[in-house]
C-alpha cells in the first residue's frame, strides 16, 4: 500500500500543550492519556515548518482540492500572537497554489482580545469557542485551577467574535452534562447566535463510563432536538444535522456519527503524529503512532493500523453494531467511546443506548413529516405532450419549480455560515411567503443555486436574495451583501454600483433601501424608475397585460450557450420593446395555442450578443425556468418563432425535473436534423419537442403570410414536418424511454402526424428534401449510431 486508503484532509495542530483553565471533564489532562506532561509547552518554529511542508506535500501528492487545519491545544492562544501569526503565515505560504486552506482555531476564549481577532481576521482564521451553556452549566466544569468561573470572560470573547461576523465566528462547542437543564443550555447558546453549535458527549469508555443511567444523554439531547425543530432549526446543530443527513443517506458532518472514513491526523507540539486526540480518553498512549513530522511523511502515517482501522466503515465495526438497524446513522459512535480493556475498540459505543434513543427519535420526526409528491393532472400532461400546455399546465410546472428552488435554497442556507441571511429568509418565508416566492421565481436565482452547490459560485448571493426578499416584503432589515464586479446585485430588481469594496450593508424598508459601504452612502427608491446614476434597475417589456423582465444586469444570467450583452442603452431597450410588442401581437393572433403558456410562464427575456455571422441566436438554460435568451432578431416574426421555440425547452425541462421520460444511463448518440453534432437522448427529445412547435409555426405562417414569406414558410414546414416526424420515430425506437416517456413521445407523434398529409407545393417539398439530404449527408460522418 502506497499510503492511506483515504488521504488526510484534516490536520489538528497542537500549537500549545497546556491550558489556562482546569476543566475537570477535559480529555487532554483528566483522562487516561497523560502524554501532555512530557511535551513542550508550545510548537517550535521548526515543527511548524515541517508540519506545513508535510501537509503541502500530502495535498500535492493526492491532488486534494482543499484541507482543513485546526489550531488546537491545550489552549492554543497560549502559543501567543506572534507564534500564531507565524503558524498562519507558514501554512498559507506552504499551501499557496497547492490547494485551498480552511484554517480554524478552537479556544476556550478567556485570552481572546481584539488583537487576536485582528490577527485571525488578517489570515482568514475562523474561531470556534467552547461554552457549556448558561452560567450554571458552564461553571459546573469550566473553571480556573483556583475554582474561579471562566464564564464572563468567555461571554466577552464570544461578543468580540460575534461583532466581527461570520468571517470570524465559526460557532460554539458544548460538552453535555445531564445535570444541566437541556433547554436552559439550548437557550443560552441560541442567544449568542452562533453560526453552528455542536453538543459533545463527554468522553468516556466502557472502562470509565459516563455518569448517569444508560440513555440519560439520549433523553437530554431529545429534549433539545424537539425544541430545535419547534424553533424552526434557527441554529445549526452539527449533531442533529448529521443525524438527519445520514437518515436521508447523506454524509455525516461529524466523526461522532456515520460510517464515513476518518481523514484526520493530529500533530503534537513536539511534532509527533497522533491519531484522533479523543483516544486520549481510552488508555495512556492510545493516540500514539510512533511517527513524527521531521522523519515521516503523512503517507507513512496513513499505514498505521489505528488510522487504517478507522477508514473501513461498516466492516470496521463489531458484529453487534453491524447488525444494528441504525448503524448507518450511528456508525458505532465516536471511536474512542467503544474502548474496553480486553476487547479494545471492537464494541458498541458506551453511549449505545443514548445514540439509539436520539436516532430513533429523529427517525420518527422525519417519517411523520408530510412528504407528498407533486402530481400532474393527466389533461395537463397530455396538453404538454401534444406540444402545447396552457395556464394550468404551466402552473403545475411552476409548482414543481417552487419545490426545487426551496430545496436548493435550503441546501445552501443550511450549510452557509451567513446565519444572518438565512434567518432573514426563513422569517420572510414564515411571515410573507409570497415575497420569497417572488425573488426565488426569478430565473437566474436557481442558476446561482446550482452553481453554488456544484462549487462554482460562492454562497454570498444568499444575502442578496435575502435583501431582495425583504424589499418585496416591505420589511426593515439590515444585511451585509457581497460586492461583485463593483456592484450590489438584487436579483430581479437591479444592481447598484458601489465601487471597489468587498461588501456593503443594505438597510431595507418599504419601497427602497439604503447602502453603506466604506463611508459611501446610497439611497434607492424602487418607485423612482430612473433612480440615481449608480442604480441600474431591471427594465421590463410590457404588452397587453403581459410583463416580462428585460434581464441585462443579473449576475448569473450569462449561463447560456451564447454570451450575454452588457447593459442595453435606452435606444436598444426601445427596439426590444417594439419587437416584443409586435411579436406578441403575432403570437396571440396567429399562434394562440402557445400564447397562454407563454403568458403564464415567460418571466424574462435575456438579450444575447449578436452572432458574428449574423445568424439568429437564441437559447434556454435548464436551470433558468422562465427565461429565454435571444440576440436581437431581424424582425418581430423571428422573435415570435424564437420565443415559441425556446419556451418548448422551458416546459420540457421543468417536466423532466418532475418525471423521468428516458433512461439517465443511456449513452447512445442520435442523429438530430437540426444539429451538426449527434445528440444524447435528452438532447434529441428536447430538440424534437421544440421542433413540433417550429413546424407548427411555419404551418401557420404559410397560410397567414403572402408572397415570398409564404413560400419560405412552405419550405420550412415541409422540411421540419418530415424531419421532426422522423425524430419522433427515432425516439420511439430508441429503447431508452421510460413508460411515461414512451407515452409522451407517442403523443408528440400524434400532433405532427396529421401535418404530414397537408398539401404542399411540389417545389417547396423538393427544396425541403434537398436541404434535409444535405444536412444528413454533412452530419452522417459524425454520427456513431443513429436513425
Amino acid at each position: 500500500m502506497a499510503g492511506p486508503a483515504v488521504p488526510f484532509r484534516q490536520f489538528v495542530l497542537k500549537v500549545a500543550s497546556r491550558c489556562d483553565l482546569a476543566c475537570d471533564h477535559c480529555y487532554v489532562y483528566e483522562h487516561a492519556d497523560q502524554s501532555w506532561r512530557a511535551r513542550p509547552k508550545v510548537m517550535s518554529d521548526e515543527t511548524i515548518a515541517w508540519s506545513a511542508s508535510r501537509i503541502a506535500d500530502h495535498a500535492k501528492r493526492h491532488g486534494l482540492p482543499g484541507v482543513t487545519v485546526v489550531l488546537h491545544g491545550g489552549e492554543p492562544l497560549l502559543a501567543g500572537r506572534h507564534r500564531l501569526e507565524r503558524i498562519s503565515r507558514e501554512l498559507i505560504r506552504a499551501l499557496d497554489g497547492v490547494c485551498a486552506l480552511d484554517l480554524r482555531i478552537h479556544t476556550n476564549g478567556v485570552l481572546l482580545d481584539e488583537a487576536f481577532c485582528d490577527l485571525f481576521a488578517a489570515h482568514g482564521v475562523k474561531i470556534g469557542i467552547s461554552l457549556d451553556g448558561d452560567r450554571v452549566a458552564n461553571d459546573r466544569h469550566r473553571l480556573y485551577a483556583d475554582g474561579r468561573s471562566s464564564y464572563d470572560k468567555v461571554l466577552r470573547a464570544i461578543d468580540l467574535v460575534r461583532r466581527r461576523g461570520p468571517e470570524l465566528y465559526a460557532g460554539l462547542l458544548c460538552t453535555i452534562d445531564v445535570a444541566n437543564d437541556p433547554l436552559a443550555v439550548y437557550e443560552a447558546l441560541a442567544a449568542l447566535h452562533p453560526p453552528r453549535v455542536d453538543f459533545l458527549l463527554p468522553h468516556a469508555t466502557w472502562d470509565a463510563p459516563p455518569p448517569g443511567p444508560p440513555g440519560a444523554y439520549g433523553d437530554w439531547l431529545v429534549r433539545i432536538f424537539d425544541r430545535w425543530l419547534a424553533d424552526g432549526r434557527m441554529m445549526k446543530v452539527r449533531l442533529f444535522e448529521s443525524a438527519l443527513r445520514t437518515i436521508g443517506s447523506e454524509t455525516s458532518l461529524t466523526e461522532s456519527l456515520g460510517l464515513e472514513p476518518s481523514d484526520l491526523v493530529v500533530i503534537e507540539t513536539e511534532g509527533t503524529y497522533e491519531q484522533a486526540d479523543s483516544l486520549k480518553t481510552s488508555y495512556d498512549g492510545a493516540p500514539a503512532t510512533g511517527f513524527n513530522v521531521s522523519d515521516h511523511s503523512l503517507d507513512t502515517v496513513g499505514l498505521h493500523p489505528g488510522i487504517h482501522g478507522r477508514q473501513t466503515g461498516l466492516a470496521g465495526l463489531c458484529a453487534e453494531c453491524r447488525s444494528c438497524p441504525v448503524v448507518s446513522t450511528c456508525g458505532g459512535g465516536l471511536y474512542a467511546h467503544r474502548y474496553r480493556t480486553g476487547t479494545g475498540f471492537a464494541n458498541p459505543s458506551v453511549y449505545c443506548a443514548d445514540l439509539m434513543k436520539l436516532i430513533t427519535h429523529v427517525q420518527k420526526a422525519v417519517t411523520t413529516m408530510d412528504r407528498t409528491a407533486h402530481t400532474l393532472p393527466a389533461a395537463d400532461v397530455a396538453a404538454l405532450a401534444a406540444g402545447y400546455g396552457g395556464v394550468e399546465a404551466i402552473a403545475h410546472l411552476e409548482a414543481g419549480q417552487r419545490s426545487v428552488r426551496r430545496a436548493l435554497l435550503a441546501a445552501i442556507g443550511n450549510a452557509s455560515p451567513s446565519m444572518e441571511a438565512w434567518r432573514l429568509l426563513t422569517e420572510i418565508d414564515r411571515e410573507t411567503p409570497a415575497a420569497l416566492d417572488t425573488v426565488l421565481g426569478h430565473p437566474y436565482v436557481r442558476v446561482w443555486a446550482v452553481k453554488c452547490l456544484r462549487g462554482t459560485a460562492d454562497d454570498g448571493h444568499l444575502a442578496s436574495i435575502a435583501a431582495t426578499a425583504a424589499l418585496h416584503a416591505g420589511v426593515e432589515a439590515s444585511v451585509r451583501l457581497p460586492v461583485r464586479d463593483g456592484a450590489l446585485h438584487l436579483p430581479g430588481l437591479g444592481l447598484l454600483r458601489v465601487g471597489a469594496v468587498s461588501g456593503a450593508t443594505v438597510e431595507t424598508e418599504a419601497g427602497g433601501f439604503r447602502v453603506h459601504a466604506d463611508g459611501l452612502h446610497h439611497e434607492v427608491r424602487l418607485d423612482e424608475p430612473g433612480g440615481p446614476g449608480e442604480w441600474s434597475p431591471v427594465r421590463h417589456l410590457s404588452v397587453n397585460g403581459l410583463t416580462v423582465a428585460l434581464e441585462d444586469v443579473d449576475l448569473y444570467r450569462d449561463c447560456h450557450q451564447w454570451p450575454a450583452t452588457q447593459r442595453l442603452n435606452d435606444q436598444e431597450v426601445e427596439r426590444w420593446s417594439t419587437l416584443f410588442s409586435d411579436a406578441w401581437a403575432l403570437i396571440t393572433r396567429d399562434h394562440s395555442a402557445y400564447a397562454a403558456g407563454l403568458a403564464a410562464g415567460l418571466r424574462a427575456v435575456m438579450p444575447l450578443k449578436p452572432a458574428a455571422d449574423g445568424s439568429e441566436v437564441s437559447s434556454t438554460a435548464r436551470d433558468a425556468f422562465g427565461a429565454v435568451a435571444v440576440a436581437p432578431p431581424a424582425d418581430a416574426a423571428t422573435l415570435a418563432l424564437l420565443l415559441i421555440h425556446e419556451f418548448q425547452h422551458v416546459k420540457l425541462g421543468a417536466l423532466l425535473d418532475m418525471v423521468d421520460l428516458y433512461d439517465q444511463d443511456d449513452t447512445t448518440l442520435y442523429y438530430a436534423p437540426w444539429r451538426d453534432d449527434p445528440r444524447p437522448i435528452e438532447g434529441l427529445l428536447q430538440g424534437t419537442y421544440a421542433h413540433i412547435a417550429v413546424t407548427d409555426f411555419w404551418r401557420v405562417r404559410r397560410q397567414a403570410d403572402d408572397g415570398p414569406a409564404a413560400e419560405r414558410a412552405s419550405v420550412q414546414f415541409a422540411r421540419w414536418r418530415t424531419q421532426t416526424a422522423e425524430a419522433v420515430e427515432t425516439l420511439a425506437g430508441s429503447g431508452a424511454l421510460t413508460g411515461t416517456g414512451r407515452r409522451f413521445v407517442a403523443a408528440m407523434g400524434n400532433s405532427i402526424r396529421p401535418w404530414l398529409a397537408e398539401p404542399i407545393p411540389a417545389s417547396a417539398e423538393e427544396e425541403a428534401r434537398l436541404a434535409a439530404a444535405r444536412h444528413r449527408s454533412r452530419a452522417a460522418a459524425r454520427v456513431p449510431h443513429g436513425a
Partner: protein, 57 residues
C-alpha cells in the same frame, strides 16, 4: 397508445417532493436529499466523504 395518461386516469404522480408549504427552516435534510440528487445528479463532487473532527467547529 394514444393517451399519455394511460393507466393514470386522474394524473401522474411525480418523483418530486412537494416542499411548497413546508416552512423553509424545515426544508433540508428532512426532505430534499432525493430531490437534490434528482436535480444535481453529478453533485457534489465525487470525492470520498469523511468524518469531521468533532473537537472543533
Amino acid at each position: 397508445m394514444n393517451n399519455i395518461s394511460e393507466g393514470a386516469e386522474s394524473g401522474i404522480s411525480t418523483d418530486l417532493v412537494d416542499l411548497r408549504d413546508m416552512p423553509l427552516s424545515r426544508v433540508g435534510s428532512l426532505a430534499d436529499a432525493g430531490l437534490l440528487k434528482r436535480i444535481l445528479p453529478e453533485s457534489p463532487a465525487k470525492q470520498v466523504t469523511v468524518a469531521a473532527f468533532q473537537s472543533s467547529i
